[in-house]
């Protein structure tokens, strides 16, 4: 009897062990909503950021809850965007190797800003930078906004504290964003998130408006790779309540 119990225990431990080392990088997977609008900016509050994202240095590829503002897509050219949010994962995933030493600073759990733009010959320039201190908890508000006093300049802030300002020198026009996506992005097959984690109070700055406006429309599912059955619910502004997106999984 004891032998059987021990054998079962050893088998279970070995299966768990195998599961743990099976973490590997995947193509990006998403659950997200999108708003098509000519815009000068957007803002939203992420709840449970970043503790609702289930990841660790053992599952080191990016897991983010963020927003993306896309610029006009040029024919046969890579995408161009600015991005702001919170996440967990290696900084510069494709550049460095996770270091198991205590002093290792490679893994980042926190707020970040990224952008990508394209030159006239189609070459890309990608940037990612950390914002604030590591391991933020609770809710945080993210905002991207065009600086209308200078061409192609965008401002970012987290919790209304200034973060990055960027003047983009690519070949396209970066004065107006064309589409906003808000969602969860994962590049590791072992990632998950707290079921029901959400974002709320989504505002945008439509071109032609005098400033930020509470977004009162609906935002459809932005269909991209999603082979994990993750999904989302959109709750529009109703009776004075905020709009919100809830992210769910099977």
């Amino acid at each position: 009897m004891n032998k059987k119990l021990i054998a079962a225990f050893v088998l279970t431990v070995s299966i768990l062990g195998v599961t743990k080392v099976n973490a590997s990088q995947t193509s990006s997977q998403y659950t997200q909503r999108y708003i098509i609008q000519d815009m000068y900016g957007a803002a939203f509050t992420a709840n449970g950021q970043t503790e609702d994202l289930i990841s660790s240095p053992a599952t080191p590829y990016p897991l983010n809850k963020a927003m993306w503002i896309f610029f006009p897509q040029q024919t046969n050219r890579p995408g161009e965007w600015v991005e702001l949010g919170g996440g967990k994962g290696l900084t510069a995933t494709s550049v460095t190797i996770p270091n198991p030493q205590l002093e290792d600073q490679t893994y980042w759990n926190g707020h970040y800003f990224t952008y990508q733009r394209v030159t006239a010959d189609g070459s890309r320039w990608y940037y990612e930078g950390r914002i604030g201190s590591a391991n933020p908890t609770g809710s945080h508000r993210y905002k991207l906004e065009r600086d209308l006093t200078q061409p192609n300049r965008w401002k970012s802030s987290v919790d209304n504290v200034a973060a990055f300002f960027i003047t983009i020198a690519g070949a396209s026009n970066y004065n107006v964003g064309k589409q906003l996506n808000i969602g969860i992005e994962s590049q590791d097959n072992q990632h998950s998130f707290t079921n029901g984690t959400s974002v709320e109070n989504i505002w945008s700055y439509p071109v032609g408006a005098s400033g930020f406006q509470n977004y009162t429309g609906t935002a459809p599912v932005a269909a991209e790779n999603n082979n994990r059955g993750w999904y989302s619910g959109w709750f529009p502004v109703q009776n004075g309540s905020q709009n919100a997106i809830q992210f769910l999984r099977p």
Binding site: A92, I97, D104, Y126
Partner: protein, 177 residues
């Protein structure tokens, strides 16, 4: 024959509820974007909060001026670089101010970045890396119809590491540089 009958009943049993569920969903949600029966959770019933104006200047540097501190108090170049992935070559690593990095980046690509958290006189390790065979960078596309571009071709990588704490502040990956 009995097996065929069983399979037929099973197929009908699956098809009718599924079709009915999908039809109901399309009535509830014309864009078919919300799962059926999903209701707003009570914790999301919050009043709308007005958006304040964006801040325009740094309020307090998370990484203040440390230019007066001795170089010996800074971390070593080796620790700043860490371990590079296979196929990447270290070109050089130099101790500079954050303002020097900004100037270098602007000269290289034209973009002007300002980081409201880092004082211009903050000491950082600016690490230049060559990726002669290219490098993978996650690519965002607006929708699934847009083709996903391939990995970056031959690239230059700029890694900026805070020289006092070792924090990796940022990374630039420039294709065809």
């Amino acid at each position: 024959m009995k097996k065929l009958l069983f399979l037929g009943i099973l197929a009908i049993g699956i098809t009718i509820p599924t079709t009915s569920l999908l039809a109901q969903n399309s009535v509830d949600n014309p864009d078919n974007s919300d799962p059926p029966g999903l209701r707003r959770p009570p914790e999301l019933n919050k009043p709308i909060i007005p958006e304040p104006p964006s801040p325009t200047t740094p309020t307090e540097y998370l990484y203040p001026d440390n230019s007066a501190k001795p170089v010996l108090q800074m971390i070593t170049k080796e620790r700043a670089i860490g371990q590079l992935r296979q196929g990447l070559n270290l070109k050089n690593a130099r101790l500079v101010t954050y303002a020097d990095y900004i100037k270098f980046k602007t000269k290289l690509g034209g973009d002007i970045i300002e980081n409201a958290q880092v004082h211009p006189n903050r000491r950082v390790w600016l690490i230049e890396i060559d990726a002669p065979n290219g490098i993978d960078v996650a690519q965002r596309v607006r929708d699934e119809k847009t083709p996903h571009p391939e990995k970056f071709k031959k690239s230059k990588v700029l890694m900026v590491v805070d020289a006092e704490t070792g924090d990796r502040l940022s990374i630039d990956i420039a294709e065809n540089q």
